[in-house]
Amino acid sequence: MNLSLYLWQRGTAALMAPMVIVHLVVIFYAARHGLTAADILGRVRGSLGWGSFYALFVAAASIHAGIGIRNVLSEWSPLAERTAGIAAAAFALVLFGLGLRAVAAVTLP
């Protein structure tokens, strides 16, 4: 892993740490107060705050996971460094696309 990727991975980790704590609190809150589609959409649909929070979360998670997958592929698979990088970048892009679609699905009015 080069210095730039290292900094991106640690930077997104530091950014996501409080976001993961918030997400865990939301998971427990939702589990305790009943998990229905109406409840979920009632809480977040039309909310700029939750939409921004989760869009940023998705972006950070996609970058963080992409770099992590790249490390795993280059260390634990026979793939060459360049191929591992391409595969991980493709994974990160798919994750980012699916994540933004999910955020749009639950937050856009």
Partner: protein
């Protein structure tokens, strides 16, 4: 032959170390979360079609076996978070003893979070 086995055993000795295990758990939990995330996003994306499709999935997820799996996911998320915080502290703060104890505490805290989740939903 015996010498070779002994050498191999010595080479693998580090794998009994708590911090090596912590690094392995951090990597494997991250890998598992990376596999889960696309499915999580696809599920939430069901709301694009209709609220009823998302509701249908959520009612399917009421099955106890799915709740157990969710408890596992809470453990994975918590252990990856706490392992990551430990790593950031090791890399950016002054070194202090007790790293093994911190790694164990992280694992236990994540397990407690998963059990607490299961206590709420089951």
């Amino acid at each position: 032959m015996t010498v070779s086995v002994a050498r191999t055993a010595r080479r693998l000795d580090h794998r009994k170390d708590a911090l090596w295990l912590a690094a392995l758990v951090h990597r494997l939990s991250g890998l598992a979360l990376a596999v889960f995330l696309p499915l999580h996003f696809l599920t939430l994306g069901l709301a694009i079609d209709s609220e009823a499709r998302l509701e249908g999935f959520l009612r399917w997820s009421d099955a106890p076996v799915v709740k157990l799996a969710e408890g596992g996911l809470v453990f994975l998320l918590a252990v990856h978070l706490l392992g990551g915080l430990r790593l950031l502290a090791v890399e950016n703060l002054a070194w202090h003893d007790g790293q093994k104890r911190l790694a164990v505490i992280a694992g236990v805290a994540a397990a407690v979070a998963a059990v607490a989740y299961l206590a709420v939903v089951l």
